[in-house]
């Protein structure tokens, strides 16, 4: 009973905290927070592949960047397009591409999967760079945010505060949906596939189809994050679709830890703040982050969330004698 209520309380508390943030934070920090929330969804979707399915993708930015570009292109070329349709088109593009590429990849796992996803990401990057007339190439595309039409009233999104609330609600809802997904039958299937695929096949599951669905689903979520990325910055450049963007999300997820659902959320928070801080004091911040990453792979492969869980168990769970141990093993 306690286990079912705890996540709910956490979710509501986080939303309430989010609602009061514009009052507390200055414009600069609110800007950063909006970015953090957008990347949080990107990272959570990535962790569904890496942490839950055990698939290391080096191509997650192709969905993120594709949707980011499609959003910008749609707003520029179709006048009067409503925000809802922008989101629909952006995510739709990611779903279609995810389904096609997922179909090509579904037989591959492990190293093969990593290599192929990187190759496809590079293809999209090359297209974005070369197709100058549509994507703007190195110059990127600038847009203005369309207003939010709720049917009975419409809200302008020019101010950061309004856009922040929209981001909080939609990204937040998507993240909660991801969390819900991990508790559905499909989510459990993915998890069991990681542990023992042979056995799942014997039990009658078509693991290839499950992988395809998961790949498309995470692609769509990354695409949603990409749509909001463009809307937030009102600009999109080839960096959104470059393999470096995949690197960034991989670092975020890994720093936070892949074993817990909230690991990537923590990772995004730490990564973006660290990046802002480090880039102020040194030009070599990618090097610092790279070194931190390798040290973590060697010594803390579970990420920060693993460290926190260990500390938590050492100090708090001793008192909890009646089956306290099973509670930690049950989650991912």
């Amino acid at each position: 009973m306690k286990q079912k209520i705890m996540p709910l309380i956490t979710i509501i508390a986080l939303f309430l905290l989010g609602i009061f943030m514009p009052v507390i934070l200055k414009q600069y920090h609110l800007n950063m927070l909006t970015e953090i929330i957008i990347f949080a969804l990107f990272a959570v979707s990535y962790n569904l592949l890496l942490g839950y399915a055990g698939l290391l993708s080096f191509g997650h930015a192709m969905f993120f960047g594709l949707s980011a570009f499609v959003t910008a292109i749609a707003i520029i070329h179709i006048p009067g397009l409503s925000l809802w349709n922008v989101i629909l088109i952006g995510v739709g593009a990611a779903v279609i591409v995810g389904f096609i590429i997922g179909g090509l990849l579904l037989r591959h796992k492990g190293s093969y999967f990593a290599l192929l996803t990187l190759a496809f990401n590079a293809l999209f990057y090359a297209i974005a760079t070369k197709w100058h007339s549509v994507t703007g190439g190195d110059d990127g595309l600038s847009i203005t945010r369309p207003g939010l039409d709720l049917g009975f009233t419409s809200i302008p999104l020019d101010s950061l505060t309004n856009f922040y609330y929209l981001t909080l609600v939609i990204m937040g809802a998507a993240i909660v949906f991801c969390w819900y997904f991990t508790h559905t039958a499909m989510g459990k299937t993915v998890l069991l596939m990681r542990e023992n695929e042979e056995r799942m096949k014997f039990l009658g599951f078509n693991t290839n189809i499950s992988r395809l669905i998961l790949f498309t689903f995470t692609g769509a979520l990354a695409g949603l994050a990409g749509v909001f990325y463009t809307l937030h910055f009102q600009f999109v450049s080839i960096s959104a679709i470059s393999p470096d963007m995949t690197t960034a999300v991989l670092l975020m997820v890994f720093v936070g830890g892949t074993k817990k659902f909230w690991g990537p959320l923590l990772g995004v928070f730490v990564y973006i703040i660290l990046q802002n801080y480090l880039s102020n004091i040194t030009d070599r911040w990618p090097l610092v982050i790279g070194v931190i990453f390798v040290l973590m792979v060697l010594y803390v492969p579970g990420g920060l969330s693993d460290v926190i869980m260990n500390v938590w168990q050492r100090f708090f769970e001793k008192k909890d004698n009646n089956g306290g141990k099973s509670a930690t093993a049950e989650e991912v």
Partner: protein, 287 residues
């Protein structure tokens, strides 16, 4: 269309370079089952080291061709012994993440030391000259690249299939525990394989310097092409790497000639076709 032989030769030269890069990659993958993301970064390091050796220290291309692989051999051995071996217990994911992180660090270090701009490596003497072939004047250096690739491929095949060392290598892949029991130091063998593969990437880097000049994006550019070579040729297959390199070299070369706007996509198109028709690659074994 009278330029066709020239483009064919261009294709051969690029195929040679591609083979030199992907040979090391496929060797490490075939022997150790490690997909080395740091391979292209090592290739980049080799190219920049050759810049320092040729342009700043000795002025001798041959010196770079000998020294760079040696330096990278040592670096590769150290990486295998002190880093890669430690993460082995975490499985493939740990190895992939480690080599990926190393690639990131090496690329950043290279940018830090040599700067974030292209550096031209100039060669002098016989190799910088031209030769008349099929009635065209053609740079000797490009032909030299192709001959290097043939030489390296030939030596690798000879060692793998005709010597005692080759037998030990293949045995280590087949059943490492049994080979270990028979008195072969398998960890040492694997360290040697990794170091040799890294040295090969350094060799390729030196070769690439005068052809493409050294620039910060060179690692990523060749990494993708080398990956496509491995996918098309078949994972861990030396013969597959040869055929796929030749195929992709010509595809790149004639792609620029025939449909310049789409030439980038052609390579991926080939990869997609292979993935659909024969997912294990042209010469790969079924998984």
């Amino acid at each position: 269309m009278s330029d066709i032989p020239v483009f064919f030769l261009h294709g051969l030269a690029y195929a040679g370079l591609l083979f030199l890069v992907s040979a090391g990659l496929t060797l490490i993958f075939g022997m150790m089952n490690v997909l080395n993301f740091a391979h292209a970064a090592m290739y980049m390091l080799g190219a920049y080291l050759s810049y320092t050796i040729i342009m700043q220290l000795t002025g001798q291309f041959w010196m770079a061709l000998i020294l760079c692989p040696l330096i990278l051999f040592v670096i590769g051995a150290l990486i295998e012994r002190f880093l890669l071996r430690r993460v082995h217990k975490y499985g493939h994911l740990g190895e992939l993440l480690l080599t990926f992180g190393l690639a990131y660090i090496v690329t950043e270090l290279v940018k830090w030391y040599w700067g974030n701009y292209p550096l031209a490596v100039n060669i002098t003497g016989f190799l910088s000259g031209t030769i008349t072939i099929f009635g065209f004047i053609y740079p000797i250096y490009r032909i030299f690249i192709f001959l290097c690739a043939v030489l390296v491929g030939g030596v690798m095949a000879l060692i793998l299939y005709k010597t005692r060392l080759g037998i030990i290598l293949r045995a280590s892949v087949n059943d490492s525990e049994m080979t270990n029991t028979l008195g072969v130091n398998v960890p040492l063998v694997l360290m040697g394989v990794f170091a040799f593969g890294t040295a090969l990437s350094g060799f390729a880097g030196v070769i690439a310097g005068p052809l493409l000049s050294t620039f910060p994006g060179m690692a990523q550019e060749i990494l993708i092409d080398a990956f496509v070579v491995i996918v098309v040729g078949g994972f861990g297959s030396l013969g597959g790497a040869i055929v796929a390199s030749l195929l992709i070299g010509q595809l790149q070369s004639f792609g620029v000639l025939l449909i310049p706007k789409l030439s980038v996509a052609l390579v991926y198109l080939l990869m997609a076709i292979v993935l659909v028709v024969k997912p294990s690659g042209l010469f790969g074994e079924e998984q």
